[in-house]
């Protein structure tokens, strides 16, 4: 994934009706699956046929679904099983799901962009329906549309489930990788001898890569200490947090003329944040008879396979990437660093090697959600209507860049910058920044127009689905009544809405602001979300709750601090993600079943509303506008 890549990660789409192909003699599958019928659904994209889904209907009554998607906690495995069981008319217990094994599953591309629900699920349903010769309508569903927790819950609760970092191979060693002291540092020299003299240690340097493998993680760390001691680095001056936004503006690839006749303007900033999934990057690599097999946690198994093939001068058929269900990603595991490192060490050691990044490595060397600098300006007329709108995102991306409000003249643009840190995808991409800035700015314009924030939005909003969630959230919250009531000291209420990836969200919040620090506390949130026909309401609710609370962390505290290319707070004791104590006493999720709309993913868009709603509530409480994440009333 290129930094600053404005394209949505999207690899296939069913643009035409799928073709059904029945294969009765696929040797590789029948070797492991036994006799049965194999159903493959093809999608045609840009003239090329790709496999969109594959089902094996075993003579033993077990159906196996093959998909290149991965499971990282978002619920893809269970949803895919439900879709197949529904269309086959069999209980869930008769369905197995084989995910993300480059030798066994079709290439579904990247698991990202909320694409599994609108892309993979229809293909699985088509394949299963082909076997039954009829596609069920949502009104006929008995499995889909009903709440279902993860099918692997028991294995997780008992510790049996093997995450990538749990994979163990015969004779396996543990690897440790030498990291540069700062961004931009390059390795000039290193002495491997002290490490190689230790018992059962293999140390290797290959260009900028240096690392070692040993019989325990402890021994690998001790060996790494000797590498660190002898390594000489060439460093160059790097950026620091205090000048980050000035640097971004200075390094913007383009200048924009200010909006002519603007009446209001504001600059918004969002910090660099780290995904910090609970399981850091991990991989086990094993070479056998010229073939490389890697178990790793990545959302992009086929791309990682291709990277490995390229790095080791192999054909893709000589590389197999297997992705066990892994411990969280949130857009942060689209790459395969640990896979490459483990494979390099395993090649040197002649034994399988596991590399599991430390938390410090994950904080510093995984990529970040890009910091954003956003210039918003508008021309508001005497009737309180926005006549023109300019919205420029520097550095963070295009997602939800375009306003859903009806404004006659608009300029919306994303301008890349030379970024100081390695940056990439994050849950809902740049829409977290864009929706924050837009919804906070809309609130400023509402106040300038002397209107209620809800009325002002509705006056500009013709999008029926956003209007529906706004109405649902504000009615449940009692917005109209509570706006008229006197708030307790330092308490305020606010709202925000948004849309992305064909789903819509609105939230109302109450916050309390600490008068000394300016820090807000979330006391109540009512969030309404609609993503078309619900496939698994239980999982959707979990995703919405998780999005709200993950978004809360970035609203309250999360902010990567760096100085001259070194991270200052790359650890959980200093970088405070959302914790149990942050959960608001009232957290109310309303799921609207959008029966007129196709099913969309639910793991991203619900993150969009909490931060701007809180910023607006802080204004209500303190009369201070907050234009940066994390939020502080100062």
């Amino acid at each position: 994934m290129l930094p600053n890549d404005p394209r949505e990660p999207e690899r296939f789409e069913l643009r035409e009706g799928p073709l059904y192909t029945f294969e009765v003699d696929r040797r590789d599958f029948f070797l492991t699956l036994g006799a049965g019928l194999l159903v493959t659904v093809y999608a045609t994209e840009a003239g090329a046929q790709t496999v969109a889904a594959r089902l094996h209907l075993g003579d033993d009554g077990i159906t196996t679904v093959f998909s290149g998607k991965v499971e990282e906690g978002q619920g893809a495995r269970t949803e895919i099983a439900m879709a197949a069981a529904e269309e086959l008319g069999v209980p869930l217990s008769k369905v197995r799901v084989q995910l993300a094994d480059t030798d066994r599953t079709p290439n579904d591309g990247l698991t990202a962009g909320s694409r599994t629900t609108p892309g993979t699920i229809p293909a699985v349903r088509q394949a299963a329906a082909a076997a039954r010769k009829a596609l069920r309508q949502p009104s006929e569903w008995t499995i889909l549309g009903k709440p279902q927790w993860h099918l692997t819950a028991r294995e997780i609760a008992t510790g049996e489930h093997k995450y990538p970092s749990d994979v163990t191979r015969e004779g396996m060693l543990y690897g440790a990788v030498l990291r540069p002291p700062a961004y931009g540092a390059t390795l000039e020299s290193i002495d491997l001898d002290p490490a190689n003299k230790l018992d059962f240690v293999t140390a290797v340097r290959d260009g900028d890569f240096a690392g070692c493998a040993a019989r325990t993680s402890y021994a690998a760390r001790k060996a790494l200490e000797t590498l660190t001691a002898s390594a000489r680095w060439k460093t160059t001056p790097q950026s620091s947090t205090p000048t980050l936004f000035e640097d971004l503006r200075a390094k913007a690839k383009q200048r924009v003329e200010p909006l002519a006749g603007k009446t209001h303007a504001a600059e918004f900033r969002t910090a660099y944040v780290q995904h910090a999934p609970m399981e850091p990057r991990a991989a086990v690599a094993e070479w056998s008879a010229g073939k490389l097999t890697v178990w790793t946690g990545t959302s992009n198994p086929f791309s990682v396979r291709d990277s490995l093939a390229q790095a080791f001068h192999l054909s893709t058929s000589q590389v197999r990437v297997i992705v066990p269900d892994f411990g969280g990603g949130f857009g942060g595991k689209h790459t395969g660093e640990a896979a490459l490192e483990a494979a390099r060490l395993a090649k040197a050691a002649g034994k399988p090697v596991k590399v599991r990044w430390t938390r410090a490595e994950e904080f510093m060397w995984a990529y970040f959600r890009p910091a954003a600098l956003i210039d918003a300006s508008a021309r508001l007329n005497a009737q309180g209507i926005i006549e023109s709108w300019q919205f420029i995102n520097y550095n963070s991306g295009t997602a939800a860049l375009q306003t859903p409000y009806r404004i006659p003249t608009r300029q919306e643009q994303y301008i890349p910058c030379d970024a100081p840190l390695r940056q990439g995808s994050y849950r809902a991409l740049a829409s977290t920044a864009n929706n924050f800035a837009r919804e906070a700015f809309m609130d400023e314009l509402a106040a300038a127009a002397g209107q209620d924030p809800l009325d002002f939005r509705l006056a500009h909003l013709h999008h029926p689905r956003i209007r529906a969630v706004l109405t649902a959230a504000t009615e449940r919250f009692g917005w109209a009544r509570r706006r008229k009531e006197k708030r307790a000291p330092n308490h305020g209420i606010g709202l925000a809405c948004g849309t992305e990836k064909n789903s819509v969200v609105a939230a109302c919040v109450e916050v309390e602001v600490d008068p000394k620090t300016g820090a807000p506390r979330l006391l109540e949130i009512v969030e309404a979300f609609e993503c078309g026909v619900l496939l698994n309401p239980a999982n959707t609710r979990s995703q919405v709750e998780g999005c709200i609370l993950m978004g809360l962390g970035a609203a309250l505290r999360e902010q990567i601090e760096f100085e001259n290319g070194r991270l200052k707070n790359g650890r959980f004791s200093a970088y405070k993600v959302t914790r149990l104590r942050d959960v608001p006493p009232k957290l109310d999720v309303i799921l609207l079943d959008g029966t007129e709309e196709p099913s969309a993913g639910a793991g991203e868009t619900p993150i969009l509303a909490v931060a701007p709603a809180m910023a607006n509530a802080i204004f209500d409480a303190t009369a201070k506008r907050v234009r940066a994440l994390p939020l502080r009333a100062v």
Binding site: A153, S217, E279, Q543
Partner: protein, 165 residues
């Protein structure tokens, strides 16, 4: 190298190793008990929680020498045969997991809490689980699971309590 003797999930174990190796790594690498997870290495996320003599500890910052002669319970040892511990069952029934990487630590800290406080208040739950991080932010479901486990019959808990000791 010194020898350390302790029990894990009721089984006597002997390990010859460096005294300052973290208990977490001995469990995972020497004893192949990978249910206990590495999350941060500084005792700040509690994914690595195990019970040592009934008390929840962060095994990533606990040197193996501290476990000498101790009784350790990991997530693999919480169920009695096919019967899950009520806290495990509550986490399953409440869907209290997304990626599930924090689940072992959450379950063990909850089990230890309910041993001490069979009917914990909300404040006691917050206190007991404070610092257990769930990056999927599945906290509402986790809280529901703790409450569900807490209201289960005393008999079920009594039966299960033998596993945590």
């Amino acid at each position: 190298m010194p020898t350390f003797r302790f029990t894990v999930n009721g089984q006597a174990r002997t390990v010859d190793t460096e005294p300052d190796r973290p208990l977490l790594e001995v469990l995972r690498e020497d004893l192949q008990l990978t249910g206990t997870k590495y999350g941060c290495g500084e005792g700040q996320c509690r994914a690595c929680t195990v019970l040592l003599d009934g008390r929840p500890i962060a095994s990533c910052v606990t040197p193996i020498r501290t476990a000498q002669g101790g009784k350790i319970v990991t997530i693999e040892g919480l169920a009695s045969g096919a019967a899950l511990h009520p806290v495990q069952q509550a986490f399953i029934d409440e869907g209290a997991m997304q990626c599930g990487y924090c689940t072992a630590g959450m379950v063990l800290r909850t089990a230890a809490l309910l041993e001490q406080r069979p009917k914990p208040t909300d404040a006691e739950i917050l206190e007991a689980l404070d610092g257990s991080l769930c990056r999927c932010c599945g906290y509402p479901r986790i809280l529901a699971a703790v409450h569900r486990a807490a209201v289960q019959s005393p008999a079920a808990r009594k039966e299960a309590s033998s596993a945590t000791k």
